[in-house]
Subunit: 136 residues, 2 copies
């Protein structure tokens, strides 16, 4: 499997991995919403198509951002969790949320948004701690 990177710029390389409209929403679901499985991702409000979802999950797994395991409670089900590499996307996700909450009037500054405005570093620290326990 050869990778086609457009350049050796770290930003460009990162965007080669998750620079699309869906990957970071899946990461968000795992990271901030406790979603774990294909069926949960599929029912998120943005309504990702099933073939796109499978494709992105596979890419994120190949890139070692997500890990796929058989569910402990239901052996016909898979659960996805973040690797350390995936958990380290948290600051990116937070900054994107912060910017979006600030500049998109259609997207009310809810929940985390308000909290981030007050204390971004605190929120990141707190969520990092929480993730640390879940990282595979």
């Amino acid at each position: 499997m050869e990778k086609k990177t457009r350049s050796d710029c770290p930003i460009s390389c990162s965007l080669d991995v998750f620079g699309d409209k869906w990957s970071l929403l899946i990461i968000r679901d795992v990271m901030l919403r406790g979603k774990l499985s294909y069926s949960e991702f599929l029912t998120s409000e943005e309504k990702i198509a099933s073939n796109i979802l499978v494709n992105r999950l596979n890419v994120l797994e190949e890139e070692n951002i997500l890990i796929k395991e058989v569910s402990a409670t239901n052996k016909s089900k898979f659960v996805y969790s973040l690797t350390q590499k995936g958990a380290d996307l948290l600051p990116i996700v937070i900054e994107i949320m912060d910017w979006g909450a600030k500049y998109n009037e259609q997207c009310p500054r809810r929940d985390l948004g308000k909290q981030i405005k007050k204390d971004k570093a605190g929120v990141i620290k707190e969520l990092s701690q929480a993730l640390k326990k879940k990282v595979k």
Copy 2:
């Protein structure tokens, strides 16, 4: 021009605007590399196609992230600069660069990358100051 947002999640809304493989590279060129014009963006190492570039510049202008003005030195040339909204993308760009430098071995941790590792907050602060003078 109606906007089609997939949801009212700030992350989703943000990705609706710049969630593609090119927009943030243009932002990077303006923000970190002092590039100003169509022709400069066109010659970046990632080799964006001219039609994509025109499309993204138009979107970024419509979104009030970039401002397009006639060059002072060459009246047949346009120069782009960041608005405050565009300059506020700096933390996102920095975090993406940081992650990319950490996890992509093909993308050597150069220049800013090393500096960010040592003192991310300092780098952001310094670049913010520099941008503040240039924002339109």
